[in-house]
Symmetry: C2
Subunit: 489 residues, 2 copies
């Protein structure tokens, strides 16, 4: 059973690192074993090195057969030519769950390396080895401090990430965790010798701690299986996918990176259309979308209210919303009249977008009523609060932050809202103030973006996901009815 | 002559501020007069206030007639209903060059305010007043410390910016100046009562200190004139334009912001195609493109070499280059062979993109030869150096920075190159190291981007601009030949 093997690999009580090295202070790399140590892995650790008696202060072993127990996970970090022998050792000692870090196989395109990959594939299949890799960074589970790269993410949460690229595994988790996204399980699987994206996807689908699944894919061994799995899993746990190598140049790069076959733009367009998986075009987009999916309720429509300040910004916001497929329903006459009571004419706009500095500067007094109006309007489904921090200043910001944290959730209830801010002036004090606001809001579970485009794109993807689910449900209900009618007739 | 008036307005020896106010420490706004003072305007300043005898320590006057001289520029900051009277005072005292900050005119859409704008327009035309505004932030000239908003940009340089929006005037100049872009003249002109974008454009075209012109446009009074001007000026000084309000929602926002008529996407598509002006879709894009235009020579083609590290990043880079319309010509066999001498197989790629950590980590030894190969390859026209700072670390970064500053310009000569970096790990020390590297490279005149997309888009726009010029030249040469042939026959 792959899933029980994966369970052990993602929750190992013991890990052996073959080719464990002393940390070299001259390079920034800690190596596999050093990374595990520094992260503070909670299980038992066995460095294996044929020449050393200890590695970074831990007793070392010359080979797997010397270990006091078979381990749940073997990490292989030896030069490529030695990998076949190591795999045979693994099989011979009952160590079947393996992460091969080593590169220099299929991805090089060199005949010698291709043969080497073929050789290890044969060994793996013959002995039923479960292999993550080769040519990858492997597994990271923040909760148990399992991680094989320098300083993996700290924040534990319900997002799991399947990444063919080790760099992307690190960058996505680092970037998203700065947005307050916490991680459950991360895997970088490189050349996908025996375990491919679909295996991890199946496992994360069943994993009770995983609520959202993000994926970075280059090639897929069984794209039909991926399609079927994503279509089903995406209904229960949102699946957000970045597909690399769709352009001609990207396809070539994929071949050199993980030796995979990419391309097939048309297939992938259909894939996203039919599975309803959320499509991202960059790691940043994937992180921004994950942030929105993590915190926001389904919106009841695409109508968004933009509350902000600055005419030029409001024009840009309108253009961006339009291009992102969001609507800006006009405020009703009643609402405009009510707003006019506390928003003066000059320098403000009481249309949608709402450009009203007084509301931002006197949030305690003016925000509750404004939010109630938005809540009561059935076509205003979401809110983007767009803040120009240079105009708000360091004195007003803490008051505004507090108001956002309490007033928005209380008055808007389940209507999704996000904050977006900009601060362009060269002003180190204000930069600090902004960062503080951002981290307070993120800690309160409010999605915050530094760029209006990111806010709008994330809300658009949130909407798209829930629209797809709703359409599917009504289609299913329709089919059920039809079947019943057929039975009745 | 408008140009001599504009010359006085952009280089005033004396400025009067009507409605000058004391700075209120309770708000972050300094006001028009306070901003002028704090920025350190080098000319004579006259605050005018009917109730105060001095403003922020400077002797105040009750009205223009009390001033010891007619001034080069009057700034009007009184409530809208008083503006007509102020304009009549201006005309009566021979003060014809005016910036009206006051809002509450055409942009509100209210009948009363429309009538008020009509009234001031009549006065202005009758007395030949040259008006920037109303509803705008006015003029900023860093060289003479003329500026009417809080903390205008410090950096003096050859870029001038024409912006219908005051917020955008500030944000663009702030953002771009952080990228090392220096400014010559900035104008925010709001409702464009008598002076419109075309007047400023003509003036900046003749201004010897302006080398690049950026524009943010909402509506244009005479789009035919704008077209003719941009077509001619763009040949000599690159014109980079962000057009706001092209979507339906954006068009509505423009009407509320500056009372202008926007929209007409088709017209603008043709405008950009035929003038060769560089199109931007956001302030950030405009700033990134300006940075490239400022420092880079014309590339001889669209072939780009990406030098970087990380397989996933290389795949993303390839996809992004393809989408940006850049080519990634494969390295010749000879070049690959030469690279293989110092770039090991595992974990690296000696294709284009070049994923070779050793070159980055040993730049003094390995960079010169690599750059010479790129310089010698006729189809490799530009270089993006893509750096993953988390993998380079704080120790190697200063060495790498020094190498980039000396080696790239020396070996690549006139081939455009830019640096792009990412740093995603939560590591305050490394953040500081990255910022230092960025500012050193920017100071050395090397365009630096924090996002690969921005680097690729900027190089694509740089290429597009020079391709347009080249096509025009060959077309002109062709026409000349044809004419000569006709004459000969």
């Amino acid at each position: 059973m792959i899933s029980s093997d994966l369970d052990k690999m993602f929750n190992p009580r013991s890990v052996a690192v073959i080719g464990a090295k002393q940390i070299d202070p001259k390079t920034p790399y800690l190596g596999m074993f050093g990374s595990l140590q520094q992260y503070g892995f909670k299980g038992r650790m066995y460095p294996i090195n044929t020449k050393l008696t200890e590695v970074n202060g831990v007793k070392a072993y010359s080979d797997l057969s010397q270990l006091p127990e078979p381990v749940d996970l073997v990490i292989v970090s030896v030069p490529a030519p030695y990998v076949p022998e190591v795999l045979r050792d693994c099989a011979g000692t009952g160590n079947t769950r393996i992460h091969i870090f080593t590169a220099g196989f299929k991805e090089t395109g060199e005949p010698r390396a291709l043969a080497l990959q073929k050789e290890i594939e044969t060994i793996a299949l013959q002995h039923h080895l479960k292999v993550v890799g080769p040519n990858c960074m492997g597994i990271c589970v923040p909760e148990i401090r399992l991680g094989t790269w320098n300083n993996p993410v700290e924040k534990v949460g319900p997002v799991s990430f399947i990444s063919q690229s080790g760099g992307h595994a690190q960058d996505f988790s680092n970037y998203a965790s700065k947005l307050g996204v916490g991680f459950c399980k991360i895997v970088s699987y490189g050349n996908a010798l025996t375990l491919d994206s679909t295996n991890f996807l199946e496992y994360f689908a069943q994993d009770p701690k995983t609520r959202i699944i993000a994926m970075y894919l280059e090639g897929v061994a069984d794209s039909r299986k991926l399609f079927t799995l994503v279509r089903e899993i995406n209904k229960i746990k949102p699946v957000i996918i970045l597909k690399g190598g769709l352009t001609e140049a990207g396809k070539k790069a994929v071949a050199s990176h993980t030796g995979s076959l990419a391309g097939q733009e048309q297939f992938w367009n259909a894939f996203f259309r039919q599975t309803g998986a959320i499509r991202a075009y960059s790691l940043e987009e994937m992180a921004h979308t994950t942030l929105a999916m993590l915190h926001l309720q389904p919106p009841r429509g695409r109508g968004v209210t933009v509350m902000g300040t600055g005419g030029g910004i409001v024009v840009a916001a309108s253009d961006v919303c339009s291009r992102a497929g969001l609507e800006l329903p006009p405020f009703s006459k009643t609402m405009q009249k009510a707003l006019r009571k506390f928003v003066p004419e000059a320098g403000n706009m009481i249309k949608n977008p709402l450009d009203a500095q007084p509301i931002i500067m006197e949030p305690e007094q003016l925000m509750p009523e404004t939010l109630d109006m938005i809540y009561d309007a059935p076509d205003l489904n979401m809110v983007i609060l767009s803040l120009h921090m240079d105009w708000i200043g360091p004195v007003a910001t803490p008051r505004l932050t507090a108001a956002i944290k309490t007033l928005f959730p209380a008055h808007l209830k389940d209507k999704p809202f996000v904050v977006c801010w900009r601060q362009t002036r060269n002003d180190p004090e204000m930069e600090m103030v902004c960062r503080k606001m951002e981290s307070e809001l993120l800690d309160a579970g409010i999605p915050v973006y530094r760029n209006f485009e990111h806010a709008a794109d994330s809300l658009s993807r949130l909407s798209g996901y829930h629209e797809f689910l709703a359409k599917q449900k009504s289609f299913m209900a329709g089919s059920a009815e039809t079947s019943e009618m057929r039975l009745a007739s």
